[in-house]
């Protein structure tokens, strides 16, 4: 495999990485696992003059419980997240979504930070992180800031990152006590394809069996991964009967803004949202999945 030539920079510290990223003539790109950037360079979609590898910054690769929250370094590989007992026990929704990304070969290379930084509409972990209300920790020359994941995705392949900023970590609050959650990935072609529709959901029942906390994240159905607030509103405080679940799925289909591509048409995507939101919620109600 051959790429267009570029300067490769391998900083040992975060400040050095930020320096390398600071304005210069031409385009600089960060590389973590390379599973997104390398194909883009090969296809000529980006032609960076400088590529800055973050692989010498081990502090960015941590997967660690900090009190009730989960601290993920931006360089944590999807396979690390999927297989870490801490994540599987405390954040099963995230582990499940990470496990559905592409193939094992991709998961041992691709990172959680890289996955988010492309605002890939068909990301598998993003809908899960939206449901878990995670926050993205960003470093810049002027200091750090924190952006909720829901605000991190701005548009088609566009994030809230300003030029010169680096995502350093993802902070995931505790999964609510008693929550049931799950992720379904529907591929229309081969099994390891990107999702035509990905649905993550997390629900918490109150003592009367009503759902008082409902969160739904969708991938592949809009220019970016999205929450489905209208669908959530249909369910919140309600007993999850079949008709209610159907109405929520319908609301999700309506609030999505699907595009047509080679995986399927916009109309078909909308219909698949209806099917998979309803199926996932039904399985959560019936106890097939739980936290």
């Amino acid at each position: 495999m051959r790429l267009y030539p570029f300067d490769l920079v391998e900083p040992d510290t975060l400040p050095a990485a930020l320096d390398a990223l600071s304005p210069l003539d031409g385009e600089a790109r960060l590389v973590a696992g390379g599973t997104a950037l390398v194909p883009m360079i090969r296809l000529g979609l980006v032609k960076p003059d400088r590529v800055i590898s973050l692989h010498r910054l081990p502090e960015l690769a941590e997967v660690r419980r900090d009190g009730g929250t989960l601290q993920l370094g931006a360089m944590a590989r999807l396979a690390d997240i999927d297989t870490a007992p801490t994540v599987r026990e405390g954040w099963p929704l995230l582990a499940e979504a990470a496990r559905r990304v592409a193939t094992p070969a991709i998961r041992v290379s691709g990172t959680i930070g890289g996955n988010l930084c492309y605002a890939e509409a068909a990301s598998d972990p993003a809908p899960a992180l939206l449901c878990l209300e995670a926050e993205v920790r960003v470093a810049g020359a002027a200091g750090g800031r924190t952006v909720p994941v829901v605000d991190f995705f701005r548009g088609f392949y566009e994030t809230a990152l300003a030029p010169g900023e680096i995502v350093t970590a993802i902070r995931v609050p505790a999964t609510p006590a008693g929550a049931r959650s799950g992720y379904v990935k529907f591929t229309s072609r081969s099994a390891e394809d990107r999702p035509l529709v990905g649905v993550a959901a997390l629900v918490v029942r109150d003592s009367s069996g009503r759902w008082d906390d409902v969160r739904i994240g969708l991938g592949g159905v809009a220019p970016t991964p999205i929450r489905a607030p209208r669908a959530e509103a249909v369910l919140r405080g309600e007993a999850p009967g079949d008709a209610t679940l159907r109405a929520a799925a319908e609301a999700a289909a309506r609030e999505a803004e699907p595009l047509s591509d080679l995986m399927g048409s916009a109309d078909y995507r909308r219909e698949m949202i209806r099917v998979w939101v309803r199926r996932l919620l039904t399985s959560l109600r019936d106890g097939a999945r739980s936290a």
Binding site: P39, T103, F186, S188, R189, S190, E192, L262, G264
Partner: protein, 762 residues
């Protein structure tokens, strides 16, 4: 069945360990000192005039050695001709040619325009960016049916019809008047790619004798002639060295890198490596032809076929390549493995500005299988008849004639392959909503070996070494199907050796006896028989030498386990080394160069298709179970059984591997593969959006091999390479049709299409 020691077993293939250990056995693995790197500039347009071409800036880039255009090609015309007497069969057809580098007009996206050689791949890529080409887009035609309209833009001066073939037997009007039911459907298939692991690759240099040597991943070592013609060199001045291939499937049957690489080496006088990227491979090499097939099939109330009328149109893309011959395979197989008294088939292949279509495993006989087997299930549904019983009623038997008039001289065993495949699916399962289950079969017949009138021939040399081991020399490219190891197994069987005591050295256009192409499922038939003949000749001499040494009659001597011994007296034995030395001492030959000539026949009648097109066929059935999610339309193949009459199994693991590979490649074609084109330009020239099946998409595949011993190959073997794939797409389409209760007639059978076929949600 005779007792074999080697034939039918699964000795590890010579190349297997090399491959799994990642040893450098492929064309792209080798580098030589001082080698340059090639790069091809290709047209981004499907139909355009080259208004201006300026290579000065590219040539001025330091490290660039050559920037070649059409003006640099001594004879810029690649001819598509098959050996043999094709002229009478192609009367009226245009002579199919294609430039090595486009001169003033480009006819498809990806057509080579400029060839570059530079000191590094990066410099070559930089030079490619500096080549200035000004294109004036021209009207193009992108649909084969639209291309038939006389007012459509012309791809070539002679018009858009490349070739028509016709098949006529009986009186089709009478056949339909005798029919109680008639089913009519139109079937459509897309452009698909071979997606071999190894893209097109080669390394070339000029040797000490001034011979241009090309070490290339190719199915056809005879392309040295094409390179020589392009360069206007005597044919003997170009040599092709074959390597193990990382897959071919017909995609490396036409010229790929050969001429461009030869041109760069010859012009620079330096070694050059040329490797196509995956994206280049997608737009650069020939595809499988899309077909539109309108079928009418008539039958009596009891299910006896009375008539088939079919109109086949295939999209040849921008150049002819092998399209006329692919279409001929479609013609011959159009009515399937059935007795049909009244037949009318009109087949046309048409130029468009789409990618060039050419050879791909099954070579035109898979598209027709989708149609004729779809028709059989449609007919069974209309007649409310069991579809297996319907097939059985009409299957060809020994002594029956194909629609071409060719009489089958051996029993096809179609019923046995179908019943065994069907039984392999096991007990029916009851579906649970939203899953629907569909089961179906598709039976098939596929030629192995070339068309009879090509007078196909292969040569091979077998010789003994002083240590009692044997060497095979035969220029048969090994595409990954185990061709080389099978030649060793045949030799070992005949000479009483272990497979490990036989080595096949090299596959080379000039150093090893010519064996022809590894295409058309011909290598076991052709090279296998040539090796068998040579090994038998050597055996004859070894037996004579051993008989003299053992003081026995040659008829009483047996060769086994690396020894010669007197039958019934195992104590009277000699090592093979002693026999060889004894033979040499007596002046007996211990080597032989032999050939095998396939039976020949006159060309078929181009207006009626009557005659003997192929010497023999391989028959077999796929039985498939699918699970269809009725809410999503997603199909999962849950069971897959393949049953074929292999004639005789040479290497069991290789034969089973062919059946498995054919099944998987067919699943991709049936369910997910399609080159998405917009006005001739590919929207998915990469594996991100051209998906092929992965391990998660493939169910366990049960392979059942019958051994009738009726084939024309060694020990009665037939060919399996292409036949193994033929019924796959029809079986999937029929199984999905059965699950959804509507005919599925268009590939790929995507979830969205199936969802639409299912109608509104329940």
């Amino acid at each position: 069945m005779p007792a074999y020691r080697v034939i039918g077993t699964s000795p590890a293939r010579a190349d297997a360990w090399e491959k799994v250990r990642g040893r450098p056995i492929y064309a792209g693995d080798l580098a030589v000192a001082g080698m340059l790197h090639g790069r091809i500039v290709r047209s981004p347009y499907a139909s355009a005039r080259i208004a201006r071409l300026d290579t000065r800036a590219a040539r001025a880039l330091p490290g660039v050695i050559a920037v070649l255009t059409a003006a640099d090609v001594p004879r810029n015309e690649l001819r598509m001709e098959l050996p043999g007497r094709m002229a009478e069969a192609t009367a009226g057809a245009v002579l199919a040619t294609q430039p090595a580098l486009a001169a003033d007009r480009v006819r498809f996206q990806g057509e080579p325009v400029v060839a570059i050689a530079a000191e590094t791949p990066e410099i070559a890529a930089g030079a490619a960016d500096l080549v200035e080409v000004e294109y004036e887009e021209l009207p193009g035609v992108y649909d084969p049916l639209a291309a038939l309209d006389p007012s459509a833009p012309r791809v070539h001066d002679g018009g858009n019809v490349l070739r028509r073939w016709h098949l006529r037997t009986g009186d089709v009007a009478r056949g339909f008047s005798e029919a109680a039911v008639v089913v009519e459907h139109t079937y459509r298939t897309p452009f698909v790619d071979h997606v071999y692991l190894e893209t097109e690759t080669g390394l070339g240099w000029i040797d000490a004798e001034g011979v241009l040597v090309l070490r290339v991943s190719t199915q056809v070592l005879e392309h040295y002639r094409d390179v020589a013609e392009i360069l206007q060199l005597p044919h003997g001045r170009v040599r092709l060295e074959g390597t193990y291939l990382g897959g071919g499937f017909g995609g490396k049957e036409d010229v790929t890198v050969e001429c461009l690489l030869g041109l760069l080496v010859w012009k620079t006088r330096r070694p050059v490596q040329l490797v196509f990227s995956r994206e280049e491979s997608f737009i650069g090499h020939g595809k499988r032809h899309p077909y539109v097939m309108r079928y009418r099939t008539g039958a009596t109330r009891d299910g006896t076929l009375t008539a088939v009328e079919a109109e086949l149109v295939s999209d040849s893309g921008a150049y002819a390549a092998l399209s006329p011959w692919v279409l001929l395979y479609s013609l011959v197989t159009a009515t399937g493995p059935y007795r049909v008294p009244h037949v009318k088939v009109d087949a046309t292949t048409v130029y468009t500005n789409n990618p060039v279509a050419s050879a791909y495993r099954c070579f035109g006989s898979i598209q027709t299988c989708l149609a004729y087997e779809g028709q059989m299930d449609a007919l069974a549904a209309t007649l409310a008849m069991d579809s297996l019983a319907l097939r059985e009623k009409n299957f060809l038997r020994k002594g029956d004639a194909l629609a071409t008039g060719q009489v089958l001289e051996t029993e096809p065993r179609l019923s046995e392959t179908m019943r065994r495949a069907w039984a392999g699916l096991g007990e029916p399962r009851s579906p649970r909503r939203p899953t629907r289950i569909g089961r179906a079969v598709a039976a098939s017949f596929t030629p192995y070996g070339r068309m009879c009138w090509t007078r196909d021939s292969a040569s091979a040399w077998v010789g003994m070494e002083l240590d009692g081991t044997a060497v095979v020399r035969c220029a048969a490219p090994d595409v990954g199907g185990g061709q080389t190891s099978s030649l060793c197994a045949i030799t070992a069987e005949v000479l009483g050796l272990d497979v490990a005591q036989v080595v096949a050295v090299g596959r080379d256009s000039h150093f090893t006896p010519r064996a022809g192409t590894t295409t058309a499922t011909r290598q076991l038939l052709m090279s296998g028989n040539a090796v068998l003949n040579a090994a038998r000749e050597v055996r004859h001499h070894l037996l004579a030498a051993a008989a003299a040494l053992l003081e026995a009659a040659p008829g009483d001597v047996e060769l086994a386990d690396g020894h010669a011994f007197v039958r019934g007296a195992p104590g009277r034995a000699l090592t093979m080394a002693s026999v060889v030395k004894g033979a040499i001492a007596e002046g007996r030959p211990v080597q032989a160069l032999e050939k095998y000539d396939a039976p020949s026949a006159p060309t078929i009648d181009p207006l009626t298709g009557q005659g003997k097109a192929f010497n023999d066929y391989t028959f077999g059935t796929h039985a498939i179970e699918v699970e269809v999610d009725e809410e999503t339309g997603r199909t999962r193949v849950s069971r897959f059984v393949a049953c074929f009459d292999a004639g005789r199994v040479i290497n069991r693991a290789s034969a089973e591997g062919q059946l498995e590979g054919g099944a998987v490649q067919g699943l991709g074609y049936a369910l997910m593969e399609e080159i998405a084109l917009e006005n001739g330009v590919s929207k998915n020239p990469h594996l991100v959006d051209y998906r092929i099946p992965t391990s998660l998409d493939v169910p366990p595949i049960e392979t059942l091999l019958l051994e009738s011993g009726d084939g024309l190959g060694p020990f009665g073997a037939k060919g399996l390479g292409e036949p193994a794939m033929t019924p796959s797409i029809a079986a999937v389409a029929n199984a999905v049709s059965s699950a959804v209760g509507a005919r599925v007639t268009q590939l790929p059978i995507t979830a969205e299409r199936v969802r639409a076929a299912l109608g509104s949600p329940a």
